[in-house]
Symmetry: C2
Subunit: 420 residues, 2 copies
């Protein structure tokens, strides 16, 4: 079928005409549809049986252009292929932590998937101080499995490169290269920041040491094909409820540095932490939740690190360093030292790459809802200055980090400075 953008009517015909979609419904005449996309990039349809709400699915279709701020520029529809194949791979590597994919239609740039009607996107409930007791366990399982099992630690060199070849994603990479690692830190017309923090923004843009570090982190992002990364794993790309976690929207996927995914997640928790200076005026309430966020970050990293290392010890079948390389007196300790060194480097990458994601949100093209929803600009500036300080320090001091506590200590020091 030649590509055409669907609408609320044609989508129903599409579903009825597909063997693999209509089997999800007991009554095809009772289908109804709601378009819930933001209309900028993708169409998102929820298809339901109006007589049985348990029967539903989601269809996501790529538009061939991107609409932002009145402008429209062409964008390759191929991104839906990256999304579909990544979701399918997630379900294979770590079942149950991404929506099920029912159908991928390459010509139509369309993916049909499980409707997560009982989940909510994580960003807003974090602003509402909700807690998710199973989240650290589940997201660390997701990260450890996907990152480890797509790396040279687990795959043969030939298999890894074959998989990597199916994730050459230059156009979406460029969005992150520009808007995470470059433009926010220089003059660029799309940049947008709170006038209250103009001095801090200008200071970042002329801070040579910081800019050199960001340029090095950008090089890592652009050249280090370490594992399949989601590459946009902020709290808006995660759906949660009390029992369950699902990762969505992996259209930016490519083979990049592992630390970018772990880092984007942690730094979005830093953004949320900062936002409570405005969202949660009651100091005791705020500190309790911020303290929960610190525990959450620690849990995520520590569980991730432990699971990643356990996977490695139990499945050291990749090209990177075969078991036979460590087969000599002292070799077992050497392998343990290698894992420790690898994970320490990953922690430092997590800090540096993740902090670029939070720093750019303060002065680039897009903020995050946690912060942008703060109406009072002076209050908002308190949160933003905090994020700028923590992010800058994570970037500049990362080479000294050997434990997640080093990252959290900076968070606490800067929190103390805000309260003082």
């Amino acid at each position: 079928m030649t590509y055409r953008a669907l609408d609320e009517n044609t989508i129903l015909d599409y579903v009825r005409g597909s063997d693999r979609l209509r089997e999800h419904f007991s009554d095809l005449s009772a289908l109804e549809c709601e378009e819930v996309g933001d209309g900028n990039l993708n169409l998102v349809f929820i298809i339901r049986n109006r007589n049985d709400s348990s029967e539903s699915l989601v269809v996501k279709q790529a538009l061939p252009y991107l609409r932002v701020a009145g402008d429209s520029w062409p964008l390759t529809r191929e991104r839906m292929r990256f999304e579909a194949q990544a979701l399918m791979l997630y379900n294979e590597l770590t079942p149950g932590l991404a929506p099920q994919v029912y159908l991928y239609d390459d010509e139509m740039s369309l993916v049909a998937m499980e409707h997560l009607s009982q989940h909510e996107v994580m960003r807003k409930p974090l602003v509402a101080r909700k807690r998710f007791p199973r989240f650290a366990d589940q997201i660390s399982t997701f990260l450890a499995n996907v990152l480890f099992k797509t790396s040279d630690l687990y795959l043969s060199g030939v298999d890894k490169k074959a998989l990597q070849a199916t994730y050459i994603n230059p156009h979406l990479c460029k969005i992150q290269e520009d808007f995470v690692f470059t433009n926010p830190y220089m003059e660029s017309p799309e940049n947008n920041w709170n006038p209250e923090i103009d001095p801090e923004v200008q200071a970042v843009r002329s801070n040579t040491a910081l800019k050199l570090a960001i340029a090095e982190l950008k090089e890592k992002y652009m050249t280090q094909g370490q594992a399949l990364i989601h590459s946009d794993l902020h709290t808006g790309s995660i759906m949660v409820n009390a029992e369950d976690t699902r990762v969505i929207d992996p259209e930016f996927s490519f083979f990049g540095p592992m630390g970018y995914d772990v880092g984007a997640l942690l730094s979005n928790l830093v953004l949320n932490f900062g936002s409570h200076y405005a969202h949660t005026p009651d100091a005791a309430e705020r500190e309790a939740y911020q303290s929960y966020l610190i525990d959450l970050m620690r849990d995520i990293w520590q569980q991730f690190e432990a699971k990643f290392e356990r996977l490695w010890v139990e499945n050291n079948c990749g090209e990177q360093v075969p078991n036979a390389y460590w087969r000599y007196p002292g070799g077992e300790e050497a392998f343990a030292a290698y894992r420790k060194r690898y994970l320490r480097q990953l922690l430092q990458d997590t800090a540096g790459l993740g902090a670029c994601e939070s720093l750019r949100r303060m002065m680039g093209i897009v903020s995050v809802w946690d912060i942008s929803s703060i109406q009072d600009l002076k209050q908002r500036a308190v949160a933003e200055r905090f994020v700028i300080r923590v992010s800058s320090r994570w970037i500049m001091e990362r080479a000294s980090f050997s434990s997640i506590e080093d990252m959290l200590a900076i968070l606490r020091e800067e929190a103390t400075a805000v309260s003082a």
Copy 2:
């Protein structure tokens, strides 16, 4: 045409039947052929006009298997594509430093190219203490142009990734991954070493600090897609004469760390340096040539570094860090600092990655002729111990290197230790 291996008769019909090949000859009835390949991997035919020796060309055809030590294993013929497209790209990026390509036939896994009848492979003349006055200038031009112009410093992100996608070369990468970075440093049946240096070889294989460093360098080789590297740039892949330098045999090409190419070249000069302990018994003669080799290494690096940096300053048009990023008071100095840092890292990669190439030649599947041609095993051991010491120190001490002099100082110290 369906693939079939050519022979000395069928190759002549092939040449006569090709519009683009027969134009190189004034008399098609006077063609003669010589097969000069080693028969392990590729067929190499020289086609000449027997009445006019100025008319000649070379045809190289990939065999679908690799014959080593009596065994035969299937090997993808696709490697000839990497060779052909790399040679063509070299001629585009830095004209005159690789053989001209006349024809590439994908179906036949065959490339026809300029016959370099006035050049010799560099390895043997270096053993004969020949000097090549234009070599440092020419090879540094080659390295600077190819590495810079295929990197994110010069190309847009989209163009670089599109180019990178045409050099996904898993099977030949695996040969280097195994035989440069892994098997030589562990028990592996194909390893081969001089029994005289068995204690040194066993010491390397149980040296945890060294093996951790090699594992990290292997990870860099496997994951860092920095630029199009030749990936087998030893002195057997370079043809020279007094005026001219040509790089050949880029079938291992892929997007890897730049330092591997610069390093393979320098470390093969270290191998040659060591070999003169046996090949050149006269101390004055030996020291004079070793001193020439040190000057050559210095020249290669310094000219490479200067040309690379000049290209960068004059053509900073890539994705990596746009000029606008450095447009602020102090930005010019910041850009200079970034270049310095980048080139320092490249020097350290050169030392570490290159030293893996020389170290493995002492204890892996293949030696180099410089060393293997030393008949007396005790004499050979002198050269080998020297190479092991220099290589190990380049690997272990590389993080402290800020100038080529740091690498050469180690060479001189170890040379002094041999003479003492």
